[in-house]
């Protein structure tokens, strides 16, 4: 089943300069009882966004109208912890299409790529500067060019290369799905099974 294609994105950024943000923070377990993929965005970072009585925490970045955009810029080791794909669904449902960090947890990165959310890894120092820049000027625009595998600060920042597996890149750019691919090689899978027996 085809997904939304990703080529070039130009957007403002939302900064989250915390390290080790785990999936329990991204979407707390008590919101995992849904049986569909939709609607998780409402509860993205729930316990940071709202206080105990359900009022908005005005100092949390998602409640700060100064910041907006489809790019989340987060501290090192983003997405550690549980394998819940709900974390990625919450981030995409909220409206993000890219997460930038210096380091991602493995399962989170796989889950992102399987849902059209692009994890962009930049060096630690670059990330620090970027966070400082966004803080100084919340209207800072960035450009993500997936084809060229380049991330840059607009209008004239030096582009920086990011890594992505060639297969996953093609899937994202063409909006393709892993399951379609696996279903298309079913004969090969059956041959493999037979060869083991």
């Amino acid at each position: 089943m085809s997904k939304k294609k990703f080529e070039i994105l130009e957007s403002r950024c939302v900064p989250l300069p915390l390290e080790n943000v785990d999936t329990d923070q991204i979407i707390p377990a008590r919101f995992l009882s849904a049986t569909t993929r939709e609607g998780f965005g409402e509860n993205l970072f729930r316990d940071w966004r709202y206080d105990k009585t359900g009022n908005k925490n005005t100092d949390f970045v998602l409640n700060n109208p100064t910041y907006s955009g489809e790019v989340l810029v987060a501290g090192k080791n983003f997405g550690s912890g549980s394998s819940r794909e709900h974390a990625v669904w919450a981030i995409t449902d909220y409206g993000f299409r890219v997460v930038v960090s210096s380091f991602f947890a493995d399962i989170f990165r796989n889950n992102s790529l399987n849902n059209g959310l692009l994890p962009v890894i930049v060096p630690e120092k670059y990330l620090k500067n970027l966070l400082a820049l966004i803080k100084k000027d919340p209207s800072t625009m960035v450009k993500i060019d997936l084809g060229k595998q380049e991330f840059s600060v607009m209008p004239d920042g030096e582009p920086i290369k990011f890594e992505i597996n060639a297969y996953k890149k093609e899937c994202l750019m063409k909006g393709l799905d892993d399951i379609d691919y696996l279903l298309s090689i079913k004969d090969v899978i059956i041959d493999y099974e037979n060869s083991r027996n």
Binding site: P17, L18, E19, D24, A105, D106, K168, I179
Partner: protein, 466 residues
């Protein structure tokens, strides 16, 4: 042939095809599912109009969301009930074996798989749950996956997966009195940090692991993910085979001698190379406790929380935020600090040996009056065995109650929540903010340390009681 690690041997023999500059198509022998991460995958199958490819290789249990009391009555929370009913419906429709609530084999997915003999050496195992690494204790390549991948396995029995790098963690020597497998893994994570093994698949080797029981090995492998590792495994040996022989589904197999012959070959070749290798000395490890909000923030129980100056300046903001959440200060000593809750259970420490250890320590003593205790067996079989061994009586005499199995307070999706601001010594695997309920403060430790806290009402070195 070149020298191979155990991980290479298992992984390579399950590669159906390698995509050029892409991931491997990895064949999955066993797939476990539960109510929380599977509904959207079944919805995907329906949307595509396809069936489950190999239903007999998948096993389902309800664990994450279920109550641990009155399991014979309908689940009160409506959303949880719907999720469990949905799993029953999905497994019936797609022909998958399901251990629902009240089934004698019900329990936490990572406790049930091994105890029923579904987890075998040399196999590939996945589940939509990051603690699937538990099964690595049997010498299997086992790891957690997301829901899109659950859908891949249901539809083709394969997933697309880049091969991780390899790390070996050696621990040698005998453990001191009161030092358990949980302390060993908490120690390793505190040394490596919570992202220290990201991108790696870990093999645990050395005399310390060799001397461990299967339950203890499962505790170790279980927490591999807490240092970011894709999974962790231990080469199968006599201990593994003896354990497997006690399981009816295995002991009855006519091909058991051949199987064991095959399993005996599952080890890393001498001279095989790892991308990273580290070693620790078992005698240095003490009973551990965590003080922060990730499992890497752990220390010996009689130690003090680090000072800000001891922390990498880049992480000091996160460090202070974490201590603020916990209500601790840098340099503070935790021993003697009041505790409100004790949780014994989860796929890390909800097995029979954990209940034996806890019961042994509290035997003849009394639960502290300020403590609320949640003692939750990992499965129906664990519960049954605990009762058969009379552990329930020992616990009751000391003022405790044995509950019914489930994930319970490990992730607090059911009503077993720790109230905001309260301290819980928990034998589970995660101390994240809000993991045990909004505002809950979790201190991870071994069942012995949990037992010591339960009778003193404070953070207490369990060695005082041994």
């Amino acid at each position: 042939m070149s020298k191979q690690t155990l991980f290479d041997k298992i992984w390579d023999s399950h590669v159906v095809r390698s995509i050029e500059e892409g991931p491997d198509v990895l064949y999955i022998d066993r797939h476990f599912i539960h109510e929380v991460t599977s509904p959207q995958a079944f919805a995907g199958l329906r949307k595509r109009g396809i069936k489950v490819f190999r239903p007999e290789q998948t096993l389902a249990t309800a664990d994450h969301n279920i109550p641990t009391k009155d399991q014979d009555k309908p689940i009160k929370d409506e959303k949880s009930r719907i999720q469990v009913e949905q799993l029953a419906k999905n497994t019936a429709e797609f022909g998958i074996n399901y251990f629902g609530l009240n089934h004698p084999n019900n329990g936490i997915v990572h406790v049930v798989g091994p105890e029923l003999g579904y987890t075998l050496p040399g196999s590939t195992i996945v589940c939509g749950d990051s603690h699937t690494s538990t099964h690595g204790a049997f010498g299997a390549v086992a790891f957690g996956i997301g829901t899109s991948e659950v859908e891949m396995v249901l539809s083709t029995q394969c997933i697309l997966q880049p091969k991780p790098k390899k790390m070996r963690i050696n621990v040698n020597g005998a453990l001191g009195k009161g030092v358990t497998a949980k302390d060993v893994i908490l120690y390793i994570i505190s040394q490596l940090s919570t992202g220290g093994a990201t991108g790696y698949f870990v093999e645990y080797a050395g005399t310390t692991f060799k001397a461990m029981s299967m339950e203890e090995r499962m505790t170790v492998c279980n927490m591999s993910i807490e240092m970011g590792a894709r999974g962790g495994l231990i080469a199968p040996d006599e201990t593994t085979f003896e354990y497997l022989k006690t399981i009816p589904a295995i002991s009855g197999r006519a091909d058991l001698p051949q199987l064991i012959g095959k399993w005996e070959k599952l080890k890393t070749d001498d001279g095989a190379e790892f991308d990273r290798e580290i070693s620790f000395d078992a005698s240095k490890i003490k009973p551990m406790i965590t003080y922060g909000t990730n499992p890497g923030m752990g220390m010996a129980i009689n130690d003090t929380i680090p000072e800000v100056d001891d922390i990498n300046p880049d992480t000091s903001a996160s460090f202070l935020k974490s201590l603020d959440y916990m209500g601790f200060t840098p340099g503070e000593k935790l021993e003697g600090h009041t505790v409100d809750y004790v949780f014994l259970g989860s796929c890390t420490n909800g097995r029979i040996e954990d209940f034996r250890a806890f019961a042994k320590l509290v035997k003849g003593r009394k639960k502290a009056s300020n403590i609320t205790a949640l003692l939750v067996p990992g499965s129906k079989l664990v519960e049954k065995q605990a009762r058969e061994e009379g552990l329930d009586k020992i616990l009751e005499a000391a003022g405790f109650e044995l509950r019914q199995p489930g994930c319970s307070s490990c992730l607090a999706m059911n009503e077993d929540k720790i109230p905001a601001g309260k301290y819980a010594v928990a034998t589970s695997n995660r101390n994240f903010e809000g993991r045990q309920g909004p505002g809950a403060r979790t201190l991870l430790a071994s069942p012995l340390t949990a037992a010591a806290a339960a009778i003193t009402g404070k953070i207490t070195d369990p060695r005082k009681f041994l």
